[in-house]
């Protein structure tokens, strides 16, 4: 992607036909939206259908991304990685009409972790491969040691499910059913795999049909010209955003609590260099490759950086190859952001959160104060419960990721209780959860005093407490940020760290470490997770006393915390106002 030179059309910034480009880009996005709608509608597993953990994209014959439907930022990496591998492993001349490719492996096929399976379909016009339709679905299990195929304590990719290099799943129109069965039977839910993979193949086929229809309507020359225009336009737009930054270099360091096996925090250091219209992002100085699975394949690193750049510079920027033209990225090999085979990569999302945060943090050196954001919870807290199902034979597995506080920004407190950065998946309602599993949600609330103090305070973390109704209920609760809190900016305070607590409100209440793999609960026993808060923005002394009073009245902060963070005088006035 970034390190391939992107042949952008003529003099950048001069579009061939801005009206034709805008009309074409709507048509193109209609195609990826149609593919995405089909993928979501027709899929079976709740993870793709309900949580929409999938993405679709269209590439040109040179492998340049021309459109991505907005779903999951992280997927940008493996979509591009899959197409690049087709071009690299096979070459455009060896791809035949009617072929469909499949892959997932981080080291062999540009994947980011095994559950994300990519399907790539070449599209032919007049006997030549002109485009590629591609999509990704997150499959909830692809085998390996652990249900869900992801665990922080996996040491190599061999523990993380079946490895799929780039192979043909359809050969000149014929589905390789043997291969499909092989893949499906290596999962704990073979029926779901078969159903969803077929839907993924069909979604690309639909994209191919629509793309060809567009070519028939507009002519291949006009289509190719408009593609050049779209890429040139996007490149120009991002260059303008970068040019508006002051030149120079700035770094920011974030830390993972540990590498999955305890020990010291692991640094993620992003160094940004702005030179005119170009931006370089360098992760030199980041920690070594992890013993556990927090390692982040390069394609995931690229996707996280693009997410952060888009968020900080231009949220409405179209996702296409034009974005890549002005950004160069470096990550030394053998580090957490560019691991070497066969390091495990399953938990790369946690690292991706910190990578996004480190880039967002480094932008503080370049952006005016009003566009800077304090650190958010930047974690991927999760709870997994498993036990005997009351509803059907066998065991249930319930997995949920939990949001936290967002960072404060000029003019706004950070959002309370929300997902940030590379994830935005919704919760399972307590009533849905209790109908499905022998579990009870005792509390789902915002954590008092968890937002970092500041002129604009950080957002509050979430407390989620779940109690077992049956014997032998296994629980695995994890959160980053139990040791390293979210930083404030411009004098803002740090957010509260995460806590994982057993049996709260009983005599046996105690806090437990973040990565204790398997707890066994008896009926009535519970696990509570309190996720990190966001960092504050600006000097706490500058906070409007009425805002402190409102937080006090609403129970978001305690009087003691207010006194400690904002001083006796302000606290006294706020308390008077809130009464």
């Amino acid at each position: 992607m970034a390190d391939r030179d992107s042949p952008i059309s003529k003099a950048e910034g001069q579009l061939f036909d801005p009206i034709a480009m805008e009309v074409f880009s709507n048509r193109l996005l209609s195609i990826t939206e149609d593919m995405g709608n089909r993928l979501v509608r027709a899929s079976f597993s709740p993870n793709i259908k309900e949580r929409k953990d999938c993405s679709v994209a269209m590439f040109d014959g040179k492998g340049r991304l021309i459109a991505q439907a907005a779903h999951i930022p992280m997927h940008l990496g493996s979509l591009s990685g899959g197409v690049e591998t087709v071009l690299g492993d096979y070459g455009v001349d060896n791809v035949r009409e009617g072929d469909v490719f499949i892959c997932n492996d981080a080291y062999l096929a540009g994947g980011t972790h095994a559950p994300d399976i990519t399907i790539v379909t070449p599209i032919f016009w007049e006997g030549r491969c002109r485009f590629f339709a591609a999509n990704i679905g997150h499959h909830s299990d692809v085998g390996g040691t652990y249900p869900g195929s992801v665990s922080p304590t996996a040491r190599t990719v061999f523990e993380e499910g079946i490895r799929i290099p780039l192979v043909r799943i359809v050969r000149e129109g014929e589905l390789d059913t043997g291969l499909l069965t092989l893949l499906a039977q290596n999962s704990r839910e073979p029926a779901d795999r078969v159903a969803d993979l077929k839907v993924q193949i069909a979604a690309n086929e639909r994209g191919a049909q629509l793309m060809l229809e567009l070519v028939r309507q507009l002519g291949i020359d006009a289509v190719e010209q408009s593609i050049e225009d779209i890429l040139a336009y996007t490149a120009r737009r991002l260059r303008n955003r970068i040019a508006a930054l002051k030149d120079g270099t700035g770094s920011h360091v974030c830390h993972l609590d540990d590498d999955g096996f305890g020990g010291d925090p692991v640094a993620i250091r992003a160094t940004l260099t702005v030179e005119g219209e170009n931006l370089t992002v360098d992760f030199d100085g980041s920690g070594p490759q992890c013993r556990g699975s927090y390692n982040m394949p390069k394609s995931a690193m690229l996707a996280s950086v693009y997410y952060a750049v888009k968020t900080m510079l231009d949220p409405e920027l179209m996702a296409n190859e034009g974005m890549f033209a002005s950004i160069t990225m470096r990550a030394p090999e053998g580090t957490i952001t560019n691991p070497t085979f066969p390091a495990a990569v399953g938990m790369r999302s946690n690292t991706a959160q910190r990578v996004a945060a480190s880039v967002i943090g480094a932008f503080a050196h370049f952006l005016p104060r009003e566009r800077v954001m304090a650190a958010s919870n930047d974690a991927m807290p999760a709870m997994v419960f498993s036990g005997r199902s009351r509803r059907r034979p066998g065991t249930y597995v319930y997995v949920e990721t939990i949001g936290g506080g967002a960072g404060g920004r000029a003019g706004h407190d950070g959002a309370d209780g929300t997902h940030v950065h590379i994830t935005n998946s919704s919760n399972l309602p307590a009533e849905a959860l209790e109908n499905e599993y022998p579990l009870v949600v005792d509390e789902y609330s915002l954590v008092t005093d968890s937002g970092g103090a500041g002129q604009w305070r950080g957002g509050m973390g979430i407390a989620r407490q779940i109690r077992a109704l049956d014997d032998d209920t296994f629980c695995y609760a994890s959160s980053e940020g139990t040791i390293v809190p979210a930083d404030g900016v411009f004098g803002g305070g740090k957010g509260a760290v995460a806590h994982i607590i057993r049996d709260r409100g009983t005599p046996g209440e105690h806090e437990i470490p973040a990565n204790q793999p398997r707890l066994v609960l008896a009926p009535g026993q519970s696990v509570r997770i309190e996720t990190p808060g966001g960092g504050g923005f600006g000097d706490p002394q500058a906070r409007d006393v009425a805002a402190i009073a409102a937080d006090l009245r609403q129970g978001r902060v305690t009087p003691a915390a207010v006194r400690a963070a904002y001083g006796e005088a302000k606290a006294a006035e706020a308390e008077r106002l809130s009464a």
Binding site: G13, Q14, L15, P18, I19, M21, E22, V23, N26, R27, S30, E33, D34, N37, R38, R41, A42, F44, P46, K49, E50, A70, P73, Y233, T234, R236, R237, N240, T311, R392, I402, G403, R409, H412, A415, D416, G417, T418, H419, N424, S425, S426, N427, P429, A430, E431, A432, E434, N435, V440, V441, E443, Y444, S445, L446, I462, Q465, Q554, G555, R556
Partner: protein, 680 residues
């Protein structure tokens, strides 16, 4: 006898009066009065009665579409509302689904909850998913909470406990306690407003309901007063979000069901007009000043949705699936810093409005482009009531768009339209593919002030072969009200795997609901022969998280296999496959109670022979190839039935303008609709 439908919009309040004796229809419009919408209604009704010299006692029915509920939320003018909920769950209203509204843009936040955190109070009580009570209701805590909310001065109280859809006892008891302590407060129980599982959506819907309740009551009082003063004694009903009518007492109790009142009536009208004109499959397209509404009608029936956002708050009630696109006549065209021409999402709206309207607008809009290209009358609109400054529109497009891009003014204006149409086409395609339909099998039903202006271009873009434009497309919502039945949806969650024992329970629940629904029809005064019950079960494959609605003919204890079979067929229809060896889970029981309203056949307007419908000609720009074409302007009201003619043509009427391109053909059908064939 007469029936009158009226729809209160942001700018105009539209009226349609049906003379049942003659079968004739009259249309009328007055400016809306947002400070008190009932004022414009009173004025309009009084003018209609006077103009047509009608005895008010002969007006037997009034149907009304209203935005009062939605506006209250948009403007944050509802009642101060308190919430009493299960211990541990007061932040559910704030955390929602823990997602952020925009993936990349942190300046777009979730809306501030309508109940502030200090008015969200928790009490000890807990019911489990199977309906067993784990913690009994602490009545003293409820009383304490009520007193606290009373001191805070709340006008409305919401009670929402976990699993109350399964066992409403605790909510009912808490409601009694609160009403005793706060006799003047408007109290809403979540188990009344929405007895469905998924606590956040239920809580949010109930909060909106209570927030709207007190002022909706005041508004209805005022409206009834004005109607009474005019001497009208007929029933007053309100269209609710699923396109049916509800009586005043029902609206008072569940105002949240009127969130998309007017637009729903428009879709009902479209479906009915399409059915009569033999176009059962329609995409409806209603373009206004700032937004465009799109919906899909399949086999003569609108598609329904169960949830949407109202001013960013989730509301879950049965409603017509109407998709809103942020593009309308006021959308602004501008060149951005990287050289692209963008249309929208910024809008000049009604104020300052398009440059050509001379009300302070300074940026070119879609409407300005339509005026420059001769598509809209460059002299005046609304039958001369709205003067237009075409020179100003031309100047602004030249200065801001044409010159920087090196284009002629008409090329620039035409480019704005092409881009606007491309944006709308994309939205229309997305709406139909999200619901699994191929748009090319549909006709485009264009209404609203600006729908017909863009419809023929848009149809061509989307590969749609036919455009249908009803009479007076600008007042279709008011007309749709006269075509609506009285109806009400009843729902109860009943989660269980489909089996003999659970089916008996489902039958019992459906039986109770049937009694409830029938009682409601009786209360609404529906005669027995006009009553109808539609029975549905929402089901899904075990392990899935989304439901499919399965219609049933009747409730039968031996009907389990029939239901499962229908479910599988429905799943194939909606998703393309079934999973034959997977158990089926029942989720909700639904009954829709319908009181059919007699539809008087509307006779077509009398063709006026010997009178030329052509009122003039003006040049219209149809793109680079065709260029400026001298185009005939027709008066819609004087086009006789059966007349067919080729484009280019402009067809004008009071509330709207239709543009037919060269090469397209338009026909006046036997009931007065215009039917445009897009492709030869």
């Amino acid at each position: 006898m007469y029936r009158i439908g009226f729809d209160v919009g942001g700018t105009f309040t539209d009226f349609t009066m049906l003379d049942e004796g003659r079968g004739s229809v009259h249309y009328f419009k007055v400016p809306s009065t947002p400070h008190d919408p009932s004022e414009a209604i009173g004025a309009g009704l009084s003018a209609l009665i006077a103009d047509h010299d009608i005895d008010p006692a002969l007006v037997r029915h009034l149907g009304h579409g209203t935005t009062v509920a939605t506006n209250m939320v948009i403007e944050r003018k509802g009642a101060l509302t308190g919430l009493i909920t299960t211990r541990g769950f007061r932040d559910t209203l704030e955390i929602g689904r823990q997602t952020r509204p925009h993936l990349y843009d942190y300046s777009i936040g979730r809306p501030t909850p309508l109940v502030p955190r200090d008015l969200r109070l928790e009490v000890d009580e807990r019911t489990l998913s199977d309906g067993t009570v784990e913690v009994p209701l602490d009545e003293e805590q409820v009383a304490e909470a009520a007193r606290k909310l009373g001191e805070a001065g709340v006008g409305a109280v919401v009670i929402c406990f976990l699993h109350s859809y399964r066992r409403p006892d605790h909510e009912r008891r808490a409601g009694e306690i609160v009403r005793a302590i706060l006799p003047d407060a408007y109290v809403s129980l979540s188990s009344n407003v929405l007895p469905e599982f998924r606590e956040y959506e239920r809580m949010s819907t109930t909060v909106l309901n209570a927030y709207m309740g007190p002022r909706m009551g005041t508004y209805l009082e005022r409206l009834l007063g004005r109607v009474g003063d005019l001497g009208i004694t007929g029933e007053l009903d309100t269209v609710h979000s699923n396109g049916g009518l509800m009586s005043v007492p029902t609206v008072r109790e569940i105002p949240v069901r009127t969130c998309v009142s007017g637009p729903a009536a428009g879709v009902i009208g479209a479906a009915e007009i399409g059915r009569v004109a033999n176009f059962p499959n329609l995409v409806t397209f209603d373009v206004g000043g700032t937004s465009t509404d799109v919906s899909v009608i399949v086999g003569g029936k609108p598609l329904f949705a169960s949830d949407r956002l109202v001013a960013d708050y989730p509301v879950k009630t049965p409603m017509i699936d109407i998709h809103v696109i942020g593009a309308g006549g006021g959308s602004i065209a501008a060149i951005d810093d990287a050289g692209a021409l963008k249309v929208g999402p910024r809008s000049a709206g009604a104020a300052p409005g398009p440059v050509a309207y001379g009300r302070g607008g300074t940026e070119p809009t879609i409407t300005d482009a339509n005026i420059v290209l001769g598509r809209l009358d460059p002299v005046a609109l609304l039958e001369g009531r709205l003067p237009v400054d075409a020179a100003a529109a031309r100047a602004v497009i030249e200065e801001r768009i044409a010159r920087p891009l090196g284009l002629s003014v008409e090329e620039a204006a035409y480019g704005i339209l092409r881009i606007a149409n491309a944006n709308m086409s994309r939205a229309i395609r997305s709406v139909s593919t999200e619901r699994g339909h191929d748009i090319r099998d549909f006709a485009l039903f264009a209404y609203g002030g600006a729908g017909p202006l863009h419809a023929c271009d848009l149809a061509q873009d989307c590969g749609i072969r036919t455009v249908l434009v009803p009479q007076e497309p600008g007042t279709l919502c008011a007309r749709g009200i006269l075509l609506s039945d009285i109806n009400m949806d009843f729902v109860r969650s009943e989660l269980s795997l489909a089996g003999e024992a659970s089916w008996r329970r489902v039958c019992a629940v459906l039986g109770e609901m049937r009694d409830e629904a029938t009682a409601w029809l009786v209360r609404e005064g529906v005669a027995e022969e006009d009553r109808q019950l539609r029975i549905m079960v929402d089901a899904r494959y075990d392990g899935q998280n989304f439901e499919v609605s399965v219609p049933l003919d009747e409730v039968r204890e031996d009907g389990l296999r029939d239901m499962v079979e229908r479910f599988r067929r429905q799943h194939v229809q909606e998703y393309g496959y079934d999973v034959s060896d997977r158990p089926v889970e029942i989720v909700n029981c639904r009954i829709q109670a319908i009181g059919r309203v007699a539809r008087v056949p509307v006779s077509a307007p009398v063709p006026v022979h010997g009178l030329d419908a052509v009122k003039g000609r003006r040049p219209v720009y149809f793109g680079k190839d065709a260029g400026w074409v001298e185009t005939s302007i027709y008066r819609r009201g004087q086009l006789p039935i059966g007349r067919t003619f080729a484009g280019p043509a402009i067809i004008e009427e009071m509330s709207s303008t239709l543009i037919v391109q060269p090469g397209q053909t338009v026909t006046v059908d036997p009931v007065g609709n215009l039917i445009v064939s897009i492709f030869e």
